[in-house]
Point group: C2
Chain length 141, copies 2
């Protein structure tokens, strides 16, 4: 059973992946806190820090993919005061033209509580050599 | 200029890499908080959660490497209340027998404040395709 705060963070995390799937920059901008210290580490990329570099990276991803779908597994939420971190596997399928590929990405997302709600301040996704097994069915959403 | 708390976290992070280089399990055990929610994501590995799985992974790494040296770059520390996160590049060289290899790992470490000091609760390291350039000289240690 999740606490009220954990549920809020869980929802904020889901909103992030909905914004990701939507390829809508306006939605993605609402997910993140607009601050110099935000960071985004895409799988295999280097360190990106600050609003402009992070948003530019999303624009590039959105422009170079036609469709993307996420199935999130092993989602775990931890909250301490004004910070929360979420870990999960992104089981993702993406399409560019006729080419469809699948990948598993292991992710750490850090959220910070603000008057408007929990905002993403750190995304770290990294490639996983093999699909995770076994999956705990209770964490599949 | 770092605050007192940031300096403490910076030092805790350095201690982690000293424990890593020492291959000494007793030292590594002192770095981590002994809790069910600790997690460790080694580059390319899957999700490890809890004391035993995390410590077993360090034992395996220590047993399968003869020497390892880290040069940390772009080290950044953020502190909020009882939590802190550190991001950096691990420029590492490791040796097993006559074989020496180098790699760059992009890392997020989360520390939690406890009566004994800042303890590691989350380590997420991921492979980077290319060495980071340019390096900001002010962050080389």
């Amino acid at each position: 059973m999740m606490s009220k705060e954990e549920s809020e963070v869980y929802k904020a995390n889901e909103n992030f992946y909905e914004a990701f799937e939507s390829f809508d920059m306006a939605k993605m901008e609402k997910i993140w806190h607009k601050a110099d210290y935000i960071q985004c580490f895409h799988p295999g990329w280097g360190m990106l820090r600050g609003w402009e570099p992070v948003m530019t990276s999303w624009r590039r991803i959105f422009e170079n993919t036609d469709e993307m779908r996420f199935l999130l597994t092993e989602v775990r939420v931890e909250v301490r005061d004004s910070l929360a971190w979420v870990t999960l596997y992104e089981n993702l399928t993406n399409r560019l033209g006729m080419e469809v590929s699948a990948a598993v990405v292991l992710t750490t997302n850090i959220f910070e509580r603000h008057p408007v709600g929990w905002l993403l301040i750190h995304h770290h996704g990294s490639p996983v050599a093999q699909p995770p097994t076994p999956i705990d069915p209770s964490t599949v959403h």
